[in-house]
Structure formats: structure tokens, C-alpha cells
Symmetry: C2
Subunit: 100 residues, 2 copies
């Protein structure tokens, strides 16, 4: 089994030499396949309205301030990387996974 992993790593390193992939560990390879989430201001608002929650409640779930959610939805500030990831989790799994 560890032989298979080593061979897989070699394959990835070969691909890296050609320039197909940039990172090298197997785990990196997995992660790289996952696109970074992006959300426009409207997308965030639609996501929240789809969940039927107010800005205040949404903020509580996110563990963020109301002010922050407002600025996201009005395009004044953009969510940080981790916040974007959290939004993508909510979109796919719902609000329950955050608290349960």
C-alpha cells in the first residue's frame, strides 16, 4: 500500500516537472483539485435569503458581526478566505452543520 502511495507521488512529481501541477504531496494534490470559493455581494444575500434568516441571525451562525454581513452584502468589504470557505459549506450543507 505504501508502495502505491510512493508511486503516486512519483507520478505527481513527474507531472510537476512538465508544469501540470505545482505542488507535490498527495494531500496537496487533492486540495488543489478543489476550486477556491467565490461569492459576489448578491450571491451572499441570495444565499442568506434562501435560508430565510435575517442579517442578525445569519451573522450569529457565522460567528461574525451584523456589520460584517451588511458590508459583504453591500459590496463594501469582501469575505476573507476562511469566510468564503464557510459560506460554501453553508451553501452545500446548510446552517445546521455550523451548530450541531
Amino acid at each position: 500500500m505504501s508502495r502505491m502511495i510512493k508511486e503516486a507521488l512519483e507520478t505527481i512529481r513527474d507531472l510537476e516537472e512538465i508544469g501540470v501541477v505545482t505542488k507535490q504531496t498527495l494531500r496537496d494534490f487533492e486540495v488543489q483539485a478543489v476550486p477556491a470559493p467565490t461569492y459576489t455581494a448578491d450571491a451572499i444575500r441570495h444565499l442568506r435569503e434562501q435560508l430565510h434568516v435575517s442579517q442578525a441571525v445569519f451573522a450569529a451562525y457565522l460567528n461574525a458581526s451584523v456589520s460584517t454581513v451588511q458590508k459583504w452584502e453591500n459590496g463594501e468589504k469582501k469575505p476573507s478566505g476562511a469566510a468564503l470557505r464557510l459560506l460554501s459549506v453553508i451553501e452545500r450543507k446548510g446552517l445546521e452543520v455550523l451548530v450541531a
Copy 2:
């Protein structure tokens, strides 16, 4: 059923007058029952090591930079509210929920 909800809201409003709770809608009440996650620098590091991933891979999952993860673990910076929530999700659900 909607009578029960109304009564629950009345109860919450009563409690609010006394100062036990500050918010008022039923949804707010639910969310308020969920404690805000807190993580020390060591706790974050232990969480990551428990998952057997490097800082780089962990950062990729979080959709954050390596520099950010390092500063969390070295106590130079603290994760934002949304980042804390994301960490709690990872701790309870694993890394897979972030990407699958």
C-alpha cells in the same frame, strides 16, 4: 403549533425584560444557545496535527494563506469569527466537509 411558538416568544420577551436574554426572535434564541467557538494557538496546532496535514495543506483547505495559519499557531494573530466557526466545523466534521 403556532400557538406554542407565540407562547415561546412571549416567554422569551418576558425573560428579556428581566435581562436574561437580549435578542428576541425564536431563531435568535436558537443561535444564542450556541456558544461562540474559541481556539488557542496550541489548540489550532493540535487540531491540524490531529488531521495529519502540513500548514500548507491546512491553509488550502481553509482557503487561507500559509502565513495566516502560521500566525494563528504562533499566537501572533487570532482567527476571525468566521474562521473560528470554520475550525469548529472541521473539528466536529473533519476536513472532508469543506471540499466534498
